[in-house]
């Protein structure tokens, strides 16, 4: 493919402009060139993090941050799903299916809505690997300054770690997820 330096920007009428700068520092604006109401413009997290820290005086409480997805398109809402969830090479434990019972190196993990993701208002169990099925998260409104944001987090059912357990090596988990964006109808 071909690439260049600069940026293109979208105006409210659906046209976009190219700002370019040459090596001498001369800049120019070109356009409008093409309509852009079909442009996906989105911001999302790329890291998957959570913690269970029973030794930090937090019992078996599962702690996860909030993952924010921002629709920056002024024209279309977006439909968001999680279309992949995989264990990495460093993973040392198992995510269980619905029938599983958490152990020292396994737990049940769920994805749930924080704000704006109506398809996961009830927590959805995550089963990684080949058994994983795409999880619809919901639609996020077009950006208008205040809308256009969806947030999710993870929850977990963990093992009831007994105090004083011995001979248990530290465990590490390594998972990645992928979010998929589809565009909705143009907002008039």
């Amino acid at each position: 493919g071909k690439s260049g330096s600069g940026y293109f920007d979208v105006d409210k009428n659906g046209t976009y402009y190219i700002m370019a700068m040459d090596k001498a520092g001369n800049s120019a604006q070109y356009g409008p060139i093409l309509t852009s109401d079909t442009l996906i413009s989105v911001e999302m997290p790329t890291k998957m993090l959570f913690a269970v820290a029973p030794n930090l005086n937090h019992g078996t409480e599962f702690v996860a941050p909030e993952f924010e997805i921002k629709n920056k398109s002024a024209f279309r809402e977006i439909k968001v799903s999680m279309d992949a969830f995989n264990a990495g090479l460093n993973n040392q434990f198992t995510l269980l299916d619905a029938a599983g019972t958490p152990s020292e190196n396994s737990l049940k993990m769920y994805i749930k809505n924080v704000v704006g993701l109506s398809d996961i208002t009830q927590p959805v169990l995550i089963v990684p690997g080949a058994a994983f099925k795409e999880i619809p998260l919901g639609n996020i409104a077009r950006y208008n300054g205040t809308n256009g944001i969806g947030k999710f987090t993870f929850a977990g059912d963990t093992y009831e770690y007994p105090v004083g357990m011995s001979n248990m090596a530290p465990l590490r988990a390594d998972f990645t997820f992928r979010l998929k964006i589809m565009t909705g109808e143009v907002v008039a």
Partner: protein, 172 residues
């Protein structure tokens, strides 16, 4: 109780070791394994420099996780409906890695029906874009459901992926 307290006195020494190791996942695990031998697990898609200590409150852990995730945000633009006049013509892909991104990216487009890769970029750095380009594999007239996978890189290290559903139109 006395034995338990004796173990806790070692926290600062180990905390230094943990910082040197500079791995968030290892930090919690080491703290757990060395001082109470309880199992701990911590997930990350990439090892980070650790600032966790044995004295962190739950709120401090949450804030640390949140800060790490927020720093991993990735912004991209791509045309969901690229159009090509014919199978060998350039189309309006409008792929952009915005300058505010911290990561480079590569894009691969595959057809949903066949899984066939029809377009693949090399690295696109923050502030760079591809407006128009030809597909690597010419397509005949029609509309094709496809998925663009955008892979974010920190240097040569892959840090995450996002995906976008596309409909590729070839007019003739």
């Amino acid at each position: 109780m006395g034995k338990h307290q004796a173990k806790r006195k070692k926290v600062p020494i180990v905390a230094v070791v943990v910082v040197v190791i500079a791995a968030v996942a290892v930090v919690i695990g080491v703290i757990s394994g060395w001082f109470t031998r309880l199992p701990e697990f911590f997930v990350d898609s990439a090892v980070q420099t650790g600032e966790l200590t044995a004295n962190m409150s739950k709120q401090e852990i949450e804030e640390y996780l949140q800060e790490t995730v927020d720093k991993s945000k990735f912004l991209f633009n791509i045309n969901a409906r690229p159009t090509f006049e014919n199978g060998t013509a350039e189309g309006d892909l409008l792929i952009q890695n915005p300058i505010e991104n911290a990561y480079g990216m590569k894009v691969t487009i595959t057809l949903d029906d066949t899984g066939e890769t029809v377009y693949q970029t090399d690295g696109i750095l923050p502030g760079q874009y591809i407006l128009m380009d030809k597909l690597d594999k010419p397509l005949s007239k029609g509309e094709y459901a496809a998925t663009a996978v955008l892979t974010a890189y920190d240097g040569d290290k892959e840090i995450g992926q996002s995906a976008a559903g596309l409909v590729i139109s070839v007019k003739a």
